[in-house]
Protein backbone atom coordinates (compact mmCIF):
# COMPACT_ATOMS: atom_id res chain seq x y z
CA UNK A 1 0.00 0.00 0.00
CA UNK A 2 1.52 3.24 -1.15
CA UNK A 3 1.31 6.37 0.91
CA UNK A 4 1.01 9.69 -0.83
CA UNK A 5 1.74 13.09 0.53
CA UNK A 6 -0.81 15.86 0.74
CA UNK A 7 -0.06 18.91 -1.32
CA UNK A 8 -1.45 22.41 -1.05
CA UNK A 9 -2.18 24.24 -4.24
CA UNK A 10 -3.37 27.78 -4.67
CA UNK A 11 -5.79 27.97 -7.54
CA UNK A 12 -5.92 31.67 -8.12
CA UNK A 13 -6.05 34.59 -7.50
CA UNK A 14 -4.59 34.88 -10.98
CA UNK A 15 -5.87 31.83 -12.71
CA UNK A 16 -7.56 31.45 -16.07
CA UNK A 17 -10.72 29.86 -14.78
CA UNK A 18 -11.54 31.42 -11.46
CA UNK A 19 -13.92 33.89 -13.10
CA UNK A 20 -12.17 36.90 -11.69
CA UNK A 21 -9.85 37.43 -8.82
CA UNK A 22 -10.71 34.48 -6.70
CA UNK A 23 -8.54 32.06 -4.82
CA UNK A 24 -9.12 28.51 -3.80
CA UNK A 25 -6.79 26.99 -1.31
CA UNK A 26 -6.87 23.37 -2.33
CA UNK A 27 -5.39 20.48 -0.41
CA UNK A 28 -4.93 17.50 -2.63
CA UNK A 29 -4.02 13.93 -2.02
CA UNK A 30 -2.66 12.86 -5.37
CA UNK A 31 -5.31 14.36 -7.57
CA UNK A 32 -8.13 13.95 -5.07
CA UNK A 33 -9.23 16.98 -3.14
CA UNK A 34 -9.37 16.60 0.57
CA UNK A 35 -10.10 20.19 1.42
CA UNK A 36 -10.92 23.41 -0.37
CA UNK A 37 -11.19 26.84 1.12
CA UNK A 38 -12.41 29.70 -1.00
CA UNK A 39 -10.62 32.96 -0.33
CA UNK A 40 -11.97 36.17 -1.70
CA UNK A 41 -12.28 39.86 -1.13
CA UNK A 42 -9.84 40.89 -3.82
CA UNK A 43 -12.56 42.93 -5.45
CA UNK A 44 -14.11 44.16 -2.23
CA UNK A 45 -15.07 47.81 -2.42
CA UNK A 46 -17.52 47.98 0.45
CA UNK A 47 -20.44 48.50 -1.81
CA UNK A 48 -22.85 48.65 1.12
CA UNK A 49 -20.96 51.42 2.86
CA UNK A 50 -20.75 53.28 -0.43
CA UNK A 51 -24.47 52.98 -0.87
CA UNK A 52 -25.18 54.27 2.59
CA UNK A 53 -23.32 57.44 1.71
CA UNK A 54 -25.31 57.96 -1.48
CA UNK A 55 -28.91 58.82 -2.00
CA UNK A 56 -31.39 56.15 -3.01
CA UNK A 57 -31.38 57.46 -6.52
CA UNK A 58 -27.62 57.50 -6.84
CA UNK A 59 -27.40 53.86 -5.88
CA UNK A 60 -29.15 52.66 -8.99
CA UNK A 61 -26.08 52.72 -11.24
CA UNK A 62 -24.02 51.07 -8.51
CA UNK A 63 -26.31 48.08 -8.51
CA UNK A 64 -25.34 47.58 -12.13
CA UNK A 65 -21.84 46.90 -10.97
CA UNK A 66 -22.77 44.10 -8.60
CA UNK A 67 -23.35 41.40 -11.11
CA UNK A 68 -22.28 43.02 -14.30
CA UNK A 69 -23.74 40.23 -16.37
CA UNK A 70 -27.24 40.93 -15.13
CA UNK A 71 -27.41 44.67 -14.61
CA UNK A 72 -31.09 44.74 -15.43
CA UNK A 73 -31.98 42.13 -12.84
CA UNK A 74 -30.05 43.98 -10.16
CA UNK A 75 -31.80 47.20 -11.09
CA UNK A 76 -35.07 45.40 -10.80
CA UNK A 77 -34.41 44.13 -7.30
CA UNK A 78 -33.32 47.53 -6.08
CA UNK A 79 -36.19 49.34 -7.74
CA UNK A 80 -38.66 46.92 -6.19
CA UNK A 81 -37.12 47.37 -2.78
CA UNK A 82 -37.29 51.15 -2.87
CA UNK A 83 -40.76 51.16 -4.37
CA UNK A 84 -41.91 48.87 -1.61
CA UNK A 85 -40.33 51.13 0.96
CA UNK A 86 -41.78 54.33 -0.42
CA UNK A 87 -44.96 52.94 -1.86
CA UNK A 88 -44.61 53.88 -5.50
CA UNK A 89 -46.95 52.47 -8.09
CA UNK A 90 -45.49 51.20 -11.32
CA UNK A 91 -47.53 51.57 -14.48
CA UNK A 92 -48.54 48.54 -16.44
CA UNK A 93 -46.35 49.07 -19.45
CA UNK A 94 -43.32 49.71 -17.30
CA UNK A 95 -43.84 46.42 -15.51
CA UNK A 96 -43.95 44.59 -18.80
CA UNK A 97 -40.83 46.32 -20.02
CA UNK A 98 -39.07 45.44 -16.80
CA UNK A 99 -39.96 41.78 -16.98
CA UNK A 100 -38.99 41.70 -20.63
CA UNK A 101 -35.58 43.09 -19.84
CA UNK A 102 -35.04 40.77 -16.91
CA UNK A 103 -35.98 37.71 -18.90
CA UNK A 104 -33.64 38.76 -21.68
CA UNK A 105 -31.01 39.09 -19.02
CA UNK A 106 -31.70 35.54 -17.92
CA UNK A 107 -31.15 34.26 -21.41
CA UNK A 108 -27.94 36.15 -21.87
CA UNK A 109 -26.62 35.13 -18.50
CA UNK A 110 -27.29 31.46 -19.05
CA UNK A 111 -25.86 31.59 -22.55
CA UNK A 112 -22.69 33.09 -21.16
CA UNK A 113 -22.58 30.93 -18.06
CA UNK A 114 -22.89 27.69 -19.99
CA UNK A 115 -20.29 28.90 -22.42
CA UNK A 116 -17.87 29.65 -19.63
CA UNK A 117 -18.63 26.36 -17.98
CA UNK A 118 -17.84 24.44 -21.12
CA UNK A 119 -14.77 26.56 -21.56
CA UNK A 120 -13.64 25.52 -18.11
CA UNK A 121 -14.12 21.95 -19.16
CA UNK A 122 -11.62 22.60 -21.90
CA UNK A 123 -13.72 23.06 -25.01
CA UNK A 124 -11.94 25.76 -26.84
CA UNK A 125 -14.47 28.56 -26.63
CA UNK A 126 -16.82 27.29 -29.29
CA UNK A 127 -19.81 27.11 -27.02
CA UNK A 128 -18.77 30.36 -25.47
CA UNK A 129 -18.56 32.04 -28.84
CA UNK A 130 -22.05 30.85 -29.73
CA UNK A 131 -23.35 32.05 -26.40
CA UNK A 132 -21.62 35.37 -26.78
CA UNK A 133 -23.15 35.85 -30.19
CA UNK A 134 -26.66 35.63 -28.76
CA UNK A 135 -25.57 37.71 -25.82
CA UNK A 136 -24.32 40.45 -28.11
CA UNK A 137 -27.65 40.56 -29.87
CA UNK A 138 -29.43 40.99 -26.58
CA UNK A 139 -26.95 43.61 -25.53
CA UNK A 140 -27.67 45.47 -28.75
CA UNK A 141 -31.29 45.57 -27.68
CA UNK A 142 -30.34 46.77 -24.24
CA UNK A 143 -28.21 49.45 -25.75
CA UNK A 144 -30.97 50.72 -27.94
CA UNK A 145 -33.36 50.86 -25.00
CA UNK A 146 -31.16 52.05 -22.18
CA UNK A 147 -28.11 53.51 -23.85
CA UNK A 148 -25.55 51.10 -22.48
CA UNK A 149 -24.77 47.50 -23.08
CA UNK A 150 -23.69 46.33 -19.68
CA UNK A 151 -24.23 49.06 -17.13
CA UNK A 152 -27.76 49.66 -18.23
CA UNK A 153 -29.06 51.76 -15.34
CA UNK A 154 -32.42 51.50 -16.98
CA UNK A 155 -34.85 51.16 -14.12
CA UNK A 156 -36.20 54.06 -12.14
CA UNK A 157 -38.42 54.20 -9.12
CA UNK A 158 -41.84 53.95 -10.64
CA UNK A 159 -40.92 52.78 -14.10
CA UNK A 160 -38.06 52.70 -16.51
CA UNK A 161 -35.81 55.46 -17.77
CA UNK A 162 -37.37 55.76 -21.20
CA UNK A 163 -39.76 53.98 -23.45
CA UNK A 164 -38.69 51.28 -25.84
CA UNK A 165 -37.43 52.70 -29.13
CA UNK A 166 -39.42 52.10 -32.27
CA UNK A 167 -37.14 49.46 -33.71
CA UNK A 168 -36.95 47.47 -30.52
CA UNK A 169 -39.88 45.14 -31.05
CA UNK A 170 -39.04 44.04 -34.59
CA UNK A 171 -35.51 43.27 -33.54
CA UNK A 172 -36.72 41.40 -30.51
CA UNK A 173 -39.00 39.30 -32.66
CA UNK A 174 -36.07 38.55 -34.95
CA UNK A 175 -34.05 37.51 -31.96
CA UNK A 176 -36.77 35.17 -30.78
CA UNK A 177 -36.70 33.51 -34.18
CA UNK A 178 -33.07 32.63 -33.63
CA UNK A 179 -33.56 31.49 -30.07
CA UNK A 180 -34.89 27.93 -30.56
CA UNK A 181 -32.14 27.13 -33.00
CA UNK A 182 -29.56 28.47 -30.65
CA UNK A 183 -30.83 26.58 -27.63
CA UNK A 184 -31.22 23.36 -29.56
CA UNK A 185 -27.74 23.68 -30.90
CA UNK A 186 -26.41 24.27 -27.45
CA UNK A 187 -28.26 21.25 -26.22
CA UNK A 188 -26.91 19.15 -29.04
CA UNK A 189 -23.38 20.24 -28.26
CA UNK A 190 -23.81 19.66 -24.56
CA UNK A 191 -26.34 17.03 -23.89
CA UNK A 192 -25.36 13.88 -25.70
CA UNK A 193 -21.68 14.56 -25.89
CA UNK A 194 -19.91 11.66 -24.20
CA UNK A 195 -16.96 13.70 -23.08
CA UNK A 196 -19.20 16.27 -21.48
CA UNK A 197 -21.22 13.57 -19.82
CA UNK A 198 -18.03 12.13 -18.45
CA UNK A 199 -17.03 15.47 -17.10
CA UNK A 200 -20.35 16.53 -15.66
CA UNK A 201 -22.31 13.47 -14.62
CA UNK A 202 -21.99 12.68 -10.97
CA UNK A 203 -19.64 15.59 -10.42
CA UNK A 204 -20.24 18.08 -7.64
CA UNK A 205 -23.39 16.50 -6.32
CA UNK A 206 -25.35 18.65 -3.92
CA UNK A 207 -28.17 16.52 -2.51
CA UNK A 208 -31.61 18.01 -2.27
CA UNK A 209 -31.78 18.21 1.52
CA UNK A 210 -28.37 19.77 1.78
CA UNK A 211 -29.06 22.27 -0.98
CA UNK A 212 -31.66 23.90 1.21
CA UNK A 213 -29.46 23.83 4.27
CA UNK A 214 -26.68 25.46 2.31
CA UNK A 215 -28.97 28.36 1.37
CA UNK A 216 -28.10 28.09 -2.29
CA UNK A 217 -30.55 29.61 -4.73
CA UNK A 218 -31.21 29.80 -8.40
CA UNK A 219 -30.25 27.10 -10.87
CA UNK A 220 -27.98 25.46 -8.30
CA UNK A 221 -30.89 24.92 -5.95
CA UNK A 222 -33.22 23.85 -8.72
CA UNK A 223 -30.56 21.57 -10.14
CA UNK A 224 -30.63 19.78 -6.81
CA UNK A 225 -34.30 19.12 -7.25
CA UNK A 226 -35.89 21.84 -5.15
CA UNK A 227 -38.53 23.58 -7.20
CA UNK A 228 -38.01 26.94 -5.60
CA UNK A 229 -38.27 29.83 -7.97
CA UNK A 230 -39.09 33.18 -6.43
CA UNK A 231 -41.04 34.11 -9.51
CA UNK A 232 -43.43 31.34 -8.51
CA UNK A 233 -42.90 31.12 -4.78
CA UNK A 234 -43.46 34.76 -4.02
CA UNK A 235 -44.47 36.40 -7.29
CA UNK A 236 -43.23 39.93 -7.58
CA UNK A 237 -43.79 42.44 -10.33
CA UNK A 238 -46.23 40.81 -12.76
CA UNK A 239 -44.84 37.32 -12.81
CA UNK A 240 -48.16 35.89 -11.74
CA UNK A 241 -49.54 36.72 -15.17
CA UNK A 242 -47.30 34.44 -17.16
CA UNK A 243 -47.36 30.75 -17.82
CA UNK A 244 -43.97 29.17 -17.43
CA UNK A 245 -42.52 26.02 -15.98
CA UNK A 246 -39.87 25.52 -13.38
CA UNK A 247 -37.22 23.03 -14.44
CA UNK A 248 -35.58 21.02 -11.69
CA UNK A 249 -32.89 18.40 -11.69
CA UNK A 250 -33.00 15.06 -10.01
CA UNK A 251 -29.47 14.34 -8.87
CA UNK A 252 -27.96 17.70 -8.21
CA UNK A 253 -24.74 17.36 -10.17
CA UNK A 254 -23.16 19.64 -12.72
CA UNK A 255 -25.09 17.98 -15.51
CA UNK A 256 -28.39 18.78 -13.84
CA UNK A 257 -27.38 22.40 -13.52
CA UNK A 258 -26.57 22.51 -17.22
CA UNK A 259 -29.93 21.00 -18.08
CA UNK A 260 -31.79 23.37 -15.80
CA UNK A 261 -30.10 26.38 -17.35
CA UNK A 262 -30.90 25.23 -20.86
CA UNK A 263 -34.53 24.73 -19.96
CA UNK A 264 -34.70 28.07 -18.20
CA UNK A 265 -33.67 29.78 -21.40
CA UNK A 266 -36.61 28.12 -23.13
CA UNK A 267 -38.96 29.21 -20.37
CA UNK A 268 -37.65 32.76 -20.55
CA UNK A 269 -38.34 32.77 -24.22
CA UNK A 270 -41.85 31.63 -23.45
CA UNK A 271 -42.33 34.51 -21.05
CA UNK A 272 -41.02 36.98 -23.59
CA UNK A 273 -43.46 35.70 -26.17
CA UNK A 274 -46.29 36.28 -23.73
CA UNK A 275 -44.99 39.75 -23.02
CA UNK A 276 -44.97 40.58 -26.70
CA UNK A 277 -48.61 39.52 -26.87
CA UNK A 278 -49.71 41.38 -23.79
CA UNK A 279 -47.56 44.49 -23.85
CA UNK A 280 -49.85 47.49 -23.37
CA UNK A 281 -49.57 50.05 -26.11
CA UNK A 282 -50.29 53.08 -23.99
CA UNK A 283 -47.90 55.81 -24.83
CA UNK A 284 -45.96 57.37 -22.02
CA UNK A 285 -46.89 54.63 -19.64
CA UNK A 286 -43.33 53.69 -19.04
CA UNK A 287 -43.04 55.87 -15.99
CA UNK A 288 -45.26 56.80 -13.12
CA UNK A 289 -45.49 60.59 -13.58
CA UNK A 290 -46.05 61.11 -9.90
CA UNK A 291 -42.99 59.20 -8.85
CA UNK A 292 -40.13 61.29 -7.52
CA UNK A 293 -36.71 60.01 -8.13
CA UNK A 294 -35.04 61.66 -5.20
CA UNK A 295 -37.11 59.67 -2.78
CA UNK A 296 -37.40 60.29 0.95
CA UNK A 297 -38.95 57.13 2.29
CA UNK A 298 -40.60 56.96 5.69
CA UNK A 299 -38.72 55.34 8.56
CA UNK A 300 -38.90 51.60 8.28
CA UNK A 301 -37.22 48.59 6.81
CA UNK A 302 -37.92 46.45 3.81
CA UNK A 303 -36.56 43.31 2.26
CA UNK A 304 -37.26 42.73 -1.40
CA UNK A 305 -35.88 40.01 -3.54
CA UNK A 306 -36.01 38.85 -7.11
CA UNK A 307 -34.96 35.75 -8.92
CA UNK A 308 -31.94 36.86 -10.89
CA UNK A 309 -30.40 34.32 -13.25
CA UNK A 310 -27.95 33.41 -10.51
CA UNK A 311 -30.42 33.10 -7.69
CA UNK A 312 -32.05 35.16 -5.03
CA UNK A 313 -30.91 38.76 -5.05
CA UNK A 314 -32.30 40.57 -2.06
CA UNK A 315 -32.02 44.13 -0.85
CA UNK A 316 -32.57 44.91 2.79
CA UNK A 317 -33.08 48.62 3.28
CA UNK A 318 -33.50 50.52 6.51
CA UNK A 319 -34.66 54.07 6.06
CA UNK A 320 -34.17 56.81 8.60
CA UNK A 321 -36.44 59.23 6.79
CA UNK A 322 -33.69 60.97 4.86
CA UNK A 323 -32.71 60.64 1.24
CA UNK A 324 -29.94 58.23 2.09
CA UNK A 325 -30.47 54.69 3.26
CA UNK A 326 -29.55 54.01 6.87
CA UNK A 327 -28.68 50.44 6.04
CA UNK A 328 -28.36 48.92 2.66
CA UNK A 329 -27.61 45.26 2.52
CA UNK A 330 -27.26 43.12 -0.55
CA UNK A 331 -27.98 39.45 -0.33
CA UNK A 332 -25.87 38.39 -3.27
CA UNK A 333 -26.67 35.05 -4.90
CA UNK A 334 -23.17 34.38 -6.20
CA UNK A 335 -21.74 34.90 -2.75
CA UNK A 336 -24.07 32.58 -0.92
CA UNK A 337 -24.00 29.99 -3.67
CA UNK A 338 -20.28 29.69 -3.03
CA UNK A 339 -20.92 28.42 0.48
CA UNK A 340 -21.10 24.74 -0.50
CA UNK A 341 -18.19 24.96 -2.94
CA UNK A 342 -15.65 23.58 -0.53
CA UNK A 343 -17.81 20.68 0.49
CA UNK A 344 -18.99 20.00 -3.03
CA UNK A 345 -15.44 19.68 -4.33
CA UNK A 346 -14.27 17.34 -1.64
CA UNK A 347 -13.48 13.89 -2.93
CA UNK A 348 -13.34 14.91 -6.56
CA UNK A 349 -10.33 15.55 -8.73
CA UNK A 350 -8.51 18.83 -9.26
CA UNK A 351 -9.88 19.10 -12.75
CA UNK A 352 -13.41 18.95 -11.37
CA UNK A 353 -12.93 22.01 -9.20
CA UNK A 354 -13.14 24.43 -12.07
CA UNK A 355 -16.12 22.60 -13.48
CA UNK A 356 -17.98 22.74 -10.19
CA UNK A 357 -17.08 26.38 -9.77
CA UNK A 358 -18.24 27.08 -13.29
CA UNK A 359 -21.52 25.30 -12.67
CA UNK A 360 -22.25 27.56 -9.72
CA UNK A 361 -21.86 30.53 -12.05
CA UNK A 362 -20.40 33.32 -10.00
CA UNK A 363 -19.49 36.88 -10.80
CA UNK A 364 -16.81 38.28 -8.57
CA UNK A 365 -18.30 41.76 -8.65
CA UNK A 366 -21.21 40.37 -6.72
CA UNK A 367 -19.28 37.98 -4.51
CA UNK A 368 -16.86 40.54 -3.20
CA UNK A 369 -19.11 43.58 -3.40
Amino acid sequence: MLKTEELQINIGPQHPSTHGVFRMLVTVDGETITDLKPVFGYLHRNHEQLAEMNTYQQNMPYTDRLDYFNAMANNHAYAIAVEKLVGIEVPERAEYIRVLMVELTRILNHAGALGFLINDMGAWQTQLAFGMREREKILDLFESASGARLMCNYFRFGGVARDLPADFMPRLKDLLLAMPGFVDEMERLLRENEILLQRSEGIGILPQELALAYSVTGPVLRGSGVAYDIRKAEPYSIYDRFDFDVPVGSVGDVYDRILVRIEEMRQSKRIIEQIIEQLPDAQGGYMNPKARQNVRPPVGDVYARVETPKGELGFYLVSDGSTKPYRYKVRAPSFINLTPLGDMCRGYKVADVVVILGSIDIVMGEVDR
Binding site: K37, F40, G41, H44, N46, E48, Q49, M53, L210, L212, A213, Y214, S215, V216, T217, V226, Y228, K232, A233, E234, V299, G300, D301, Y303, R305, E312, G314, Y316, V318, D320, G321, S322, Y326, R327, K329, R331, F335, I336, L338, T339, P340, D343, D368, R369
Partner: protein, 173 residues
Protein backbone atom coordinates in the same frame (compact mmCIF):
# COMPACT_ATOMS: atom_id res chain seq x y z
CA UNK B 1 -48.57 28.41 0.11
CA UNK B 2 -47.97 29.28 3.77
CA UNK B 3 -48.68 32.85 4.58
CA UNK B 4 -47.59 33.59 8.12
CA UNK B 5 -47.19 37.20 9.03
CA UNK B 6 -44.86 38.70 11.59
CA UNK B 7 -47.69 39.06 14.09
CA UNK B 8 -48.58 35.40 13.71
CA UNK B 9 -45.01 34.44 14.29
CA UNK B 10 -44.88 36.55 17.42
CA UNK B 11 -48.00 34.91 18.70
CA UNK B 12 -46.69 31.44 17.91
CA UNK B 13 -43.35 32.08 19.50
CA UNK B 14 -45.00 33.53 22.56
CA UNK B 15 -47.16 30.47 22.84
CA UNK B 16 -44.62 27.74 22.15
CA UNK B 17 -41.38 29.18 23.40
CA UNK B 18 -42.18 31.31 26.37
CA UNK B 19 -39.57 33.77 27.45
CA UNK B 20 -37.92 33.85 24.07
CA UNK B 21 -39.64 36.87 22.71
CA UNK B 22 -38.44 40.27 23.74
CA UNK B 23 -40.20 43.54 23.55
CA UNK B 24 -39.11 45.44 20.48
CA UNK B 25 -38.30 48.83 21.89
CA UNK B 26 -38.01 51.56 19.26
CA UNK B 27 -34.58 52.34 17.96
CA UNK B 28 -33.15 55.73 17.19
CA UNK B 29 -31.66 56.04 13.80
CA UNK B 30 -29.65 59.16 14.47
CA UNK B 31 -28.53 61.03 17.54
CA UNK B 32 -30.98 63.81 18.40
CA UNK B 33 -30.21 66.80 16.19
CA UNK B 34 -29.18 70.12 17.66
CA UNK B 35 -32.15 71.87 16.12
CA UNK B 36 -35.16 70.85 14.14
CA UNK B 37 -37.22 67.80 14.89
CA UNK B 38 -35.69 64.38 15.22
CA UNK B 39 -36.75 61.66 12.81
CA UNK B 40 -39.26 59.26 14.31
CA UNK B 41 -37.71 56.19 15.91
CA UNK B 42 -37.67 52.90 14.13
CA UNK B 43 -40.14 50.31 15.28
CA UNK B 44 -40.46 46.84 13.91
CA UNK B 45 -43.24 44.34 13.73
CA UNK B 46 -40.88 41.40 13.38
CA UNK B 47 -40.28 39.03 16.23
CA UNK B 48 -37.45 40.18 18.41
CA UNK B 49 -35.93 37.27 20.24
CA UNK B 50 -33.33 36.75 22.87
CA UNK B 51 -29.99 36.72 21.10
CA UNK B 52 -28.68 33.85 23.23
CA UNK B 53 -31.61 31.67 22.26
CA UNK B 54 -31.57 32.42 18.57
CA UNK B 55 -30.78 28.81 17.70
CA UNK B 56 -33.85 27.65 19.54
CA UNK B 57 -36.02 30.11 17.69
CA UNK B 58 -34.50 29.29 14.35
CA UNK B 59 -34.92 25.58 14.87
CA UNK B 60 -38.52 26.21 15.83
CA UNK B 61 -39.03 28.02 12.57
CA UNK B 62 -37.37 25.25 10.64
CA UNK B 63 -38.72 22.17 12.30
CA UNK B 64 -42.12 23.22 13.49
CA UNK B 65 -43.17 25.84 11.00
CA UNK B 66 -41.26 24.47 8.02
CA UNK B 67 -39.38 27.66 7.28
CA UNK B 68 -36.25 25.78 6.38
CA UNK B 69 -34.59 28.18 4.02
CA UNK B 70 -32.31 30.67 5.76
CA UNK B 71 -32.05 33.36 3.17
CA UNK B 72 -30.16 36.13 4.79
CA UNK B 73 -28.47 37.31 7.95
CA UNK B 74 -28.17 41.05 8.03
CA UNK B 75 -26.62 43.23 10.70
CA UNK B 76 -27.74 46.80 11.30
CA UNK B 77 -25.72 49.08 13.47
CA UNK B 78 -27.91 51.31 15.67
CA UNK B 79 -25.18 53.52 16.95
CA UNK B 80 -27.43 55.86 18.88
CA UNK B 81 -28.85 52.99 20.92
CA UNK B 82 -25.62 51.09 21.16
CA UNK B 83 -26.95 47.85 19.71
CA UNK B 84 -26.46 45.70 16.67
CA UNK B 85 -29.59 44.21 15.33
CA UNK B 86 -29.30 40.92 13.48
CA UNK B 87 -32.02 40.13 11.02
CA UNK B 88 -32.42 36.47 10.20
CA UNK B 89 -34.69 35.89 7.28
CA UNK B 90 -36.40 32.56 6.71
CA UNK B 91 -38.48 31.30 3.85
CA UNK B 92 -40.75 28.38 3.41
CA UNK B 93 -39.82 25.99 0.65
CA UNK B 94 -43.32 26.07 -0.73
CA UNK B 95 -43.18 29.79 -1.16
CA UNK B 96 -44.80 32.72 0.49
CA UNK B 97 -43.40 35.75 2.21
CA UNK B 98 -40.54 35.66 4.62
CA UNK B 99 -40.40 35.50 8.37
CA UNK B 100 -37.76 37.51 10.09
CA UNK B 101 -36.21 36.92 13.44
CA UNK B 102 -34.44 39.84 14.97
CA UNK B 103 -31.97 39.78 17.76
CA UNK B 104 -30.21 42.66 19.40
CA UNK B 105 -26.76 42.49 20.89
CA UNK B 106 -24.86 45.24 22.65
CA UNK B 107 -22.20 46.94 20.59
CA UNK B 108 -19.55 46.51 23.26
CA UNK B 109 -19.59 42.72 23.35
CA UNK B 110 -21.47 41.47 20.32
CA UNK B 111 -21.87 37.74 20.70
CA UNK B 112 -24.43 35.46 19.15
CA UNK B 113 -24.59 31.69 18.97
CA UNK B 114 -23.74 30.54 15.48
CA UNK B 115 -26.31 28.96 13.22
CA UNK B 116 -23.67 27.33 11.03
CA UNK B 117 -23.78 23.91 12.73
CA UNK B 118 -27.45 23.69 11.84
CA UNK B 119 -27.46 25.65 8.60
CA UNK B 120 -24.20 25.27 6.74
CA UNK B 121 -25.54 28.08 4.58
CA UNK B 122 -25.15 30.51 7.43
CA UNK B 123 -21.41 30.15 7.18
CA UNK B 124 -20.65 33.01 4.84
CA UNK B 125 -23.36 35.24 6.22
CA UNK B 126 -21.83 34.99 9.64
CA UNK B 127 -18.31 35.40 8.43
CA UNK B 128 -19.38 38.51 6.60
CA UNK B 129 -21.05 39.87 9.72
CA UNK B 130 -17.93 39.10 11.69
CA UNK B 131 -15.72 40.73 9.13
CA UNK B 132 -17.68 43.91 8.66
CA UNK B 133 -19.30 44.36 12.08
CA UNK B 134 -17.15 42.36 14.43
CA UNK B 135 -19.92 40.18 15.76
CA UNK B 136 -18.61 36.97 17.27
CA UNK B 137 -20.60 33.91 16.40
CA UNK B 138 -19.99 31.39 19.12
CA UNK B 139 -19.64 27.92 17.72
CA UNK B 140 -18.73 28.92 14.18
CA UNK B 141 -16.20 26.44 12.82
CA UNK B 142 -14.10 28.88 10.84
CA UNK B 143 -14.74 32.43 11.95
CA UNK B 144 -12.24 34.38 9.90
CA UNK B 145 -12.35 37.59 7.96
CA UNK B 146 -13.91 37.02 4.58
CA UNK B 147 -13.47 40.24 2.61
CA UNK B 148 -10.79 42.15 4.43
CA UNK B 149 -7.33 40.76 4.88
CA UNK B 150 -6.64 38.99 8.12
CA UNK B 151 -4.41 41.71 9.49
CA UNK B 152 -7.03 44.40 9.05
CA UNK B 153 -7.99 46.22 12.22
CA UNK B 154 -11.46 47.47 12.86
CA UNK B 155 -14.80 46.65 11.33
CA UNK B 156 -15.51 48.79 8.33
CA UNK B 157 -19.28 48.68 8.25
CA UNK B 158 -19.74 49.96 11.77
CA UNK B 159 -21.15 53.41 11.69
CA UNK B 160 -18.35 54.83 13.79
CA UNK B 161 -15.73 53.55 11.41
CA UNK B 162 -14.16 56.62 9.84
CA UNK B 163 -15.18 57.30 6.30
CA UNK B 164 -11.77 58.75 5.60
CA UNK B 165 -8.38 58.08 7.10
CA UNK B 166 -7.82 55.02 9.17
CA UNK B 167 -8.94 55.81 12.70
CA UNK B 168 -12.13 55.45 14.61
CA UNK B 169 -14.04 58.64 15.13
CA UNK B 170 -13.25 60.06 18.53
CA UNK B 171 -10.16 58.01 19.02
CA UNK B 172 -7.28 60.30 19.85
CA UNK B 173 -4.02 60.07 18.09
Amino acid sequence: MPNLRAEDLRALLGRDLPGLLQEAYPLHLAPPPAHGHAPPPFTTADALVDADRIIEAALYLRDTLGYAFLSDICVVDYLADGVFELVYRFYHVEGGPSLALKARVPRESPQVPSLTPHWPGANFHEREAFDLYGITFVGHPFLRRIYMWDEFEGFPMRRDFPKQGDKYIGEEE
